[in-house]
Amino acid sequence: MIPYYYLASIALIVIGIYVVIAKKNLIKIIIGLDLMDTGVNLLLIAIGYVKGGTAPIENANYALYVDPIPQALVLTAIVIGVSVMALALSMVIGLYKNIGTLEIDELRRVKE
């Protein structure tokens, strides 16, 4: 049986893609991107999980540790994700100052 955390991460990724494709508001699209990022990060963390394992710090009381590499990867991925979100939101602000709308449909209409 697939563990539930895999299902949760796949659900997050799929919801994120759906939001990006279906929503017409730029802020909502960016929220979708963030959901997708979170799903991928959850997937990475879940891969490194060992049942009953503790944090990967050397300690005489524990013998079982979770895999530290996915945690390092997720830290990097979170930093990257945050900076992309910040950049995307600042672009949305710039676009709003130029056109005065965040709806994609209206954006197309203004073009004509």
């Binding site: 990006v20 991107l33 997708m36 891969i47 990867l73 990257i80 950049l87 995307a88 676009l95």
Partner: protein, 474 residues
């Protein structure tokens, strides 16, 4: 003399964050510092290439032995593409001197960072490191794409951000799947232990990585961002996208197909994606009236040809694909620089308002050389790439693919010929003369195109290592 390949990445990164300090002292020297750094980096890349031709270099970072530590894996082909990217970056940095819009400091920092990311993507031998460099390249590219801060720039950049971050999420999913199965991130280690992977999971991982890098490589269903981003970006930045970030994306794609997965029976998938990309690009380019959009769609078409060459997968066609990367990096950068001058001189980006703009020989001759090279005419470098891709297809007997490829090439010739006719038509209109920062890069690119077109032997010598690359080497 031994040069460690990591210097190629460290030098632009170091200077990118040194620039704010230099700008405190003098703002005028910034552009010369950037040109100097890029020129020096290109020389280093050349030395690394000479070293890599003898034997692939494995540069171990921070003393951790692979497969645990991060390693740079520099084969002859990687070093070659790194050299192409660095030379293109240097020549484009000359044209960047025409950018006058503030904040110039940030422009130059981002242009060094995009160079660093693109070089790193080509050189790295670690899958997660590849992802990090992909993100460095694309975040720098997002910033540069919206540099003009007008409506077109923000729209293009926002499209790029949305597509690009979906793509990088897919890359990360692919990495996660591979790590879950093999517990390693080193490319060569993955390649040797690939047999341990579940075959269906392997396909899912391959498709995730392929689609993820496909965004950067302008592959068909994922390239909706290309025309608007190229159109909205400042002119030197469009040239950078065509010759740096797209090239590193396509090399990462080649790494995924050949070094990591060593696929041979699924390559039809890649060929079909390639041919769709070619048709999509070339046919839409034909109806464009805006010059930069036409060049952007033509760029999609050319990238499709490279993907096709990789997909056919014989030694000849992959040699053709790498040659095409070289010729496209040089030729398309030239055309974008020329287009930038034309838009400035004609005051509009519509091609039909540019009558007679090529009659100034400083612009006209390089423009003609660039266009003929992109079309694939024999004495220029564009010929060899297309020729070898076709020869590879012939060897395997893929006649239908060849026919489609040639049909798309005819469309390409048609719209470029129309453009030549407009540019060289007799006209009363006077255009302002180009300054040295415009025609110097054009002439340098034109010289490279003609030189290696007449004497392609050095490039072919480097590309003779393709057989080892296909066999899963560095």
């Amino acid at each position: 003399m031994m040069v460690q390949p990591v210097l190629l990445i460290a030098l632009p990164l170091f200077f990118a964050f040194l620039l704010p300090l230099i700008s405190l002292w003098s703002k005028k020297v910034l552009k010369y510092v950037v040109m100097g750094v890029m020129a020096f980096n290109a020389i280093l890349a050349f030395i690394v290439l000479i070293e890599a031709l003898k034997a692939p270099i494995f540069d171990i970072i921070a003393g951790f032995q692979p497969p645990l530590g991060i390693v740079l894996m520099v084969g002859p082909l990687g070093a070659f593409i790194a050299l192409v990217i660095n030379v293109a970056a240097f020549v484009i940095s000359l044209y960047s001197a025409t950018v006058t819009k503030e904040p110039l400091l940030k422009y130059y920092m981002l242009s060094l960072l995009i160079l660093m990311g693109a070089t790193g993507m080509v050189l790295t031998g670690d899958l997660f490191n590849l992802f990090v460099f992909l993100e460095v390249t694309s975040i720098a590219a997002y910033g540069l794409a919206s540099y003009n801060k007008d409506r077109k720039g923000f729209e293009g950049a926002l499209k790029y951000v949305i597509m690009g971050s979906i793509g990088s999420s897919f890359v990360l999913i692919g990495i996660a799947i591979i790590y879950a199965q093999l517990r390693t991130l080193n490319m060569l280690d993955i390649a040797t232990r690939l047999g341990e992977m579940d075959p269906y999971t392997k396909i899912v991982a391959f498709v995730s990585l392929f689609l993820g890098f496909g965004v950067e490589a302008e592959m068909f269903p994922l390239n909706a961002w290309v025309p608007e981003t190229y159109d909205g970006a400042p002119h030197p930045v469009s040239a950078m996208f065509a010759s740096m970030s797209a090239k590193s994306g396509i090399f990462a794609l080649a790494r995924v197909i050949f070094t990591i997965f060593a696929f041979s029976n699924y390559l039809w998938f890649v060929v079909i994606m390639g041919i769709l990309t070619v048709f999509f690009g070339e046919i839409i380019a034909y109806v464009q009236k805006n010059i930069k959009r036409m060049l952007a769609y033509s760029s999609i078409g050319q990238m499709g040809m490279i993907i096709m060459g990789l997909g056919i997968g014989t030694v000849l066609s992959v040699q053709g694909a790498f040659f095409q990367m070289f010729s496209h990096a040089m030729g398309k950068a030239l055309l974008f620089i020329a287009a930038g001058y034309m838009i400035y001189a004609a005051g509009t980006d519509r091609m039909d308002k540019m009558k007679g703009i090529g009659r100034n020989p400083l612009i006209g001759i390089p423009l003609l050389i660039g266009i003929l090279s992109i079309m694939g005419m024999p004495p220029f470098i564009g010929f060899y790439g297309k020729f070898y891709i076709l020869m590879g297809g012939f060897q395997q007997g893929y006649y239908a693919i060849i026919a489609l490829f040639l049909a798309a090439s005819i469309v390409e010739v048609a719209y470029y010929a129309r453009f030549i006719k407009i540019a060289f038509e007799k006209s009363e209109r006077k255009y302002p003369a180009p300054n040295i920062w415009v025609y110097a890069p054009l002439i340098i690119f034109a010289i490279i195109i003609v030189l290696f077109g007449i004497y392609p032997k050095p490039v072919m010598d480097i590309l003779s290592h393709v057989a080892a690359f296909l066999a899963g080497g560095a």
